[in-house]
């Protein structure tokens, strides 16, 4: 069977039942493709075994880049390219450069991190998402299990595991 095409879906109504179910389903040896929710469920990334997002590191690096660019730009323009005495101060009046440096640090950190988020999560206006169930963005949580990666268990067995761990419905979904 081909991967990433045929799924068994467990539909859950309640986020706490879902959290328990993820542990139970994984405990019985089923590999979960992904869980889809209408809102962020706290702690689900831990039970699914996801690593902590590295986006804060991206934000930090972009922030450092912003600080560096802002300072280099201001020193170059005010001290090297066209030195001028303003208010009797040194050409490179370092304390005066702090506000712009701070703003550019925040600007680059924010835009850099959001850019990385967009790319890593494939968010773009022309993206065509695979929608497992239209109720995911309304009121249902859906656990998707790829039949191909769980071939040894079989569809019925997976359905039973989902039912016994609290799914209110078990559906099948295939993509072209």
């Amino acid at each position: 069977m081909e991967r990433d095409k045929n799924f068994v879906l467990g539909v859950f109504d309640d986020e706490d039942v879902l959290l328990d179910a993820v542990s139970k389903v994984r405990g019985s040896g089923v590999k979960i493709h992904e869980v889809y929710s209408p809102f962020p469920v706290h702690g689900i990334d831990d039970v699914l075994g996801y690593k902590r997002s590295r986006l804060p590191i991206a934000a930090f690096l972009f922030g450092i880049l912003g600080t560096t660019l802002a300072l280099v730009m201001q020193f170059y323009m005010m001290k090297i390219d066209w030195p001028m005495i303003i208010g009797g101060k040194d050409h490179a009046a370092f304390p005066d450069f702090i506000p712009v440096t701070f703003e550019l640090t925040v600007l680059l950190a924010a835009f850099g991190m959001v850019g990385v988020f967009m790319v890593s999560s494939n968010l773009k206006p022309w993206a065509q998402p695979r929608i497992f169930d239209l109720r995911i963005t309304d009121d249902k949580h859906v656990m998707a299990i790829d039949l191909a990666t769980n071939a040894s268990l079989g569809e019925e067995k997976i359905g039973d595991i989902l039912k016994s761990s609290g799914a209110t419905e078990v559906n099948k979904k295939s993509f072209e």
């Binding site: 469920v41 990334d45 506000p99 695979r130 963005t137």
Partner: protein, 454 residues
């Protein structure tokens, strides 16, 4: 297991389920516009068009169309600029600072407050741009662009330039923060829609699918953006206050300005949020989400920041006397008892005395009283900026050049233009965007609802 606190008031009333949240918020995006909305939009667009006559006249003839003179070089323009920027502080404060403090009541109001922030900052930015006189050349004066004068760069020692960076960073980061929050809600509307609406909201939702991995990243982005936006929101009005505080004008040259301006900004921002939310909750029947509890909490923020502002006014006066500088002392006596005494005492009444009424629980939980006081606060905050700017300038160092400021039709018209722009944008937002962050509210339905949905 459900635990409902017997101490805390529920954040959502009416026993709402997840489905109710989707329905209650999506309904006005999907329904036909109401008569009230159409009338409101007509009034707003009318003000925009009427005001644009003054705007065009100002751009065509130059800022000589305004009531400025040799002594008073800054008046309504900068007053309006600071006033709008101040209003634009509440949104990011609510969504960023209250997120860091884990204040869940923010979730029902942050979307509309952030929209208000973005629109208010657009209105604010109009004024310095118009004040340039020839805004089509403005990019060379405001941004470090290479030019044929050498390159002669912008002056990084100037607080006016810091303001350019502060306001544009604040605007763009707030816009991104707001949009990231909108993506999951656009996906909700997409999945309920068919035809053209599905295509449009599909594009707006950026292909959101609600995967746990994406939510985990989303939460991390929201937290870091909040951490970045918190010092940012404080920096913006600090830098706006530097425009005055770093000068040597008596009445402006004080170190109290940054915290005083920031408190004033939060004060006026929350007042504007209340004005808008009281109408929005009524018109869109969202009383179960934006409850009296929310209004009361915002009123408490108004008491605190209003009192900080009051203390700042008194401190300024004391320091002017204590400094022993005759010019400084005169500036403040002139403020309170000079020809602009009416502006000073309007400011004192509206900003210092009226918010103290919120100490009474009856008043801070009354919708009518809150609505009236929210307008009073915004009038007071406009007068605060007018008092600081005009009364400090109008009697300068040479008595022969003392003058008064009289606004012209162009001054009034450009101000009207920004009102038209603000309300047009807000009404379009209220109709076509989900006014409440559905995804965030859904995450607290179970723990903070009046009735547990099970």
């Amino acid at each position: 297991m459900q635990v409902t606190s017997s101490v805390r008031e529920p954040l959502i009333t009416g026993g709402k389920t997840l489905k109710d949240v989707t329905h209650d918020v999506s309904r006005q995006v999907e329904g036909k516009p109401t008569l009230g909305w159409i009338l409101g939009l007509l009034v707003a667009v009318g003000a925009l068009l009427l005001g644009s006559l003054a705007l065009v006249a100002t751009l065509w003839e130059g800022i000589g169309m305004w009531g400025l003179n040799k002594t008073i070089g800054w008046a309504w323009d900068i007053t309006n600029f600071v006033w709008w920027v101040g209003i634009g502080h509440a949104g990011t404060l609510i969504s960023a600072v209250l997120l860091l403090f884990r204040q869940k009541w923010r979730m029902a109001i942050n979307r509309a407050a952030e929209a208000m922030t973005i629109f208010a900052v657009i209105c604010a930015a109009m004024f310095p741009i118009i004040h340039m006189g020839r805004p089509w050349l403005g990019a060379y004066w405001a941004l470090p662009l290479p030019n044929t004068f050498g390159s002669l760069w912008v002056n990084f020692n100037s607080p006016l330039l810091w303001d350019v960076f502060a306001i544009s960073t604040y605007f763009s980061v707030s816009l991104v923060f707001w949009y990231i929050g909108l993506i999951p809600d656009f996906a909700t509307i997409r999945d309920r829609a068919t035809g053209l609406r599905k295509t449009i909201y599909g594009a707006l939702s950026f292909g959101w699918d609600g995967a746990a991995k994406t939510w985990s990243r989303y939460e991390s982005v929201a937290l870091i953006l909040a951490g970045l936006a918190t010092p940012l929101v404080l920096s913006v009005h600090t830098i706006v206050s530097f425009d005055f505080a770093t000068s040597v004008i008596p009445g402006w040259h004080t170190t109290i300005f940054p915290p005083y301006f920031v408190a004033g900004a939060i004060f006026s921002g929350f007042a504007m949020v209340l004005t808008l939310m009281i109408i929005t909750r009524k018109v869109f029947k969202l009383e179960d989400y934006i409850t009296i509890g929310h209004i009361e909490l915002m009123n408490i923020v108004i008491i605190i920041t209003g009192s900080i502002v009051g203390i700042a006014y008194i401190t300024e006066f004391f320091i002017a006397w204590y400094s022993g500088v005759a010019a400084e002392q005169y500036a403040f006596i002139n403020r309170a008892f000079g020809p602009y005494w009416w502006a000073y005492w309007s400011m004192m009444t509206c900003n210092v005395i009226s918010p103290q009424l919120f100490w009474f629980k009856k008043i801070r939980t009354s919708i009518v009283a809150t609505f009236i006081l929210s307008l009073v606060v915004n009038i007071g905050m406009w007068f605060e900026r007018f008092v600081i700017i005009v009364t400090s300038l109008h009697r300068d160092f040479l008595p022969s050049s003392w003058a008064m400021f009289y606004p012209t039709l162009s001054d009034i018209g450009v101000y009207l233009f920004t009102f038209g722009l603000f309300f047009t944008l807000f009404l379009l937002f209220a109709k076509f965007f989900p006014v409440i962050n559905m995804a965030e509210v859904k995450s607290i339905v179970k723990s903070s609802s009046e009735k547990v949905n099970k």
